[in-house]
Amino acid sequence: MNPATIERLGAIIGGIVVAVVAFYALYKDWHTPGVENNVFKLMLLLLGLGAVLALLAGLNVVGFSPKGA
């Protein structure tokens, strides 16, 4: 297994785990009131989207890899 494949696998597995954790935390906190909780919710949403982007990059759906893999 070459390094690029390992990096992609890490991105895929990590991306799934982080996306699930972020969206689950968002779901759990959805009804919490207050300014700080609303900021947390926005940031959890963006964190989850970032994890999905990393997952898609790991799957080679988006981005570019000169090493192939």
């Binding site: 690029a4 990096e7 992609r8 890490g10 991105a11 990590g14 991306g15 785990v17 982080v18 954790v21 972020a22 935390a25 300014v35 700080e36 900021v39 947390f40 940031m43 959890l44 963006l46 964190l47 989207l49 970032g50 994890a51 982007l53 990393a54 990059a57 790991g58 080679n60 988006v62 981005g63 570019f64 890899s65 000169p66 090493k67 893999a69």
Partner: protein, 204 residues
Amino acid sequence: MTTAAFGADSEGHVDQLYVETRELRLQGFLLFLISDCVLFSSFIFAYLYLRNSGQGWPPPGIQRLDTAFAAWNSVVLFGSGATMHYALENFKHGNFMKYMWFLLATIVLGAGFLGGQAYEYNHLIFGEHVTWGGSGIFGASFFTLTGMHGMHVFLGVCYLTVLVLQSAAGVYRGGQYFGITAGTLYWHFVDVIWVVLFSIFYLL
């Protein structure tokens, strides 16, 4: 500011003062994050403007950035956002040991991200000869924005280390934990900025 900094009296005025000033400190901290957001936004829009005003991107002689390693390194940083969130949640629910472990995990992951960034810089500078001053707009924008973000991550790691020490010393207790809330907000902010930087440098 903490309970210890306020000092306590026998009538519980510390709690009153904490409650009275907490919202103000929260608003002040959010304003700080917004001002930081403006700073990053100005650099990001300058980069996007320059990128779209040239003849193709990346400039001739420079390869597109490799996504595989960046995606892995991004997941490390995003993972630290998740652990930080659970650190705060555990503190709120009184699970002090779990809070400490999640906080330490956040520091390790943040440091791991910085290590990954150093590895990538090393590869770009010495492997592909992309430098801040010698690779035109591309090098200047990439190293300025990711370097500025890396500095924020480094400061965040320092801040979280201080939180660990303060927590071990019993500074935060009960409902008085604004320092931890501020640390969590800052760390999430750093994560979110990286979502944007990762997208514009590696995915577009």
